[in-house]
Amino acid sequence: MNRPRFSLFEKRHQRDGQPDANRASDERLAVLKIRTTDVILIVILFMVGFIMLPAVNSLANRHHRTTGKLEIVVVVSGNVVFRHVYDPSDEPVNFHWDENGHSMTIQVGPEGARVLSSDCRDQFCVHSRPISMPGQAIVCAPNQMIVKVIGSSDDGAADFVEVNGPSADVDAVAGQIGGYDAP
């Protein structure tokens, strides 16, 4: 490499053969090597994300003001198509939804609600774990379907509004919100 004369964007006084002429270049090269502090920072940030999960869960539970009675709600394109009071000791209940050439089967069983089958290509909703905690949801974006557990029937109406909000930004993907389980 040629002997450094001066840096491209450095101040003019550094140009003429001063010892620190290529100090900026040195900083830019030094910054390319990973440091211990980076690893510490990344690990801490990674943990912060996951430590917040229980906090978020408890916040969501308080938000939904659980009265002991849980309800499973299925929302398709913003419309409630199915409501069912969830009791783990009950017999499994199947709900089949068929509309506009899309069909899905949702089962409410002892472990909670899950999507038994769906005609979407991703099948993320089918592979999602059953949901039984208030605030949890399974989203199937291709079919614009959300299965959600809500705490009490009273604030159910407000819940549907909020459940539709984030889905506006969801496109072509489906996942499970809360207790995420990669398929």
Binding site: F9, R35, I42, L45, L53, V163, V170, I177
Partner: protein, 175 residues
Amino acid sequence: MRHKLSKMTMTSVLIALALALAIAENLVIPLLRIPIPGAKIGLSNVAVLVAIYFVGPWYAFVVMLVRVFVVFIFGGNTVALVFSLFGGVMAYLTMLILRNSKRFSLFGISAGGAFAHALGQITAAIIMTGSISVLFYLPILTGFSLAAGIVVAILAVPIFKALVKFENSSYSSEL
């Protein structure tokens, strides 16, 4: 005058780079089928990183801002504008703070910026939907964003090396 002109030229080149990367990313991301809504690698952050180190913090801010607004003009999605504006400003501020602390390398700075970007987007989502249900995305989104930040840093390394080489070569003496 020359000095400022070269900075402005460099900034416009970096804006073009940021836009090209943002558009390329929007084309490629749906094909990858990442099962996280709203997940992006944030490739255009490479341009912001280069601008912070080679041009100056304010020029980097301009690169970020112009990128957000031009993508909005072509995409026309107001919701996406608010999301990327929140995320972009948060990421920019975080990267600047981490850079000025002089304790971190490109990897830490980029990962921190990506983390802040995810946090900013979640904040925007909470404000816009008035719901905290979005917070459920936080762990998976931050985990993904850290990985994305490291990828961005890896991509920025050869660009940094090439630019430093250019700076020290005889070509740059005319600028």
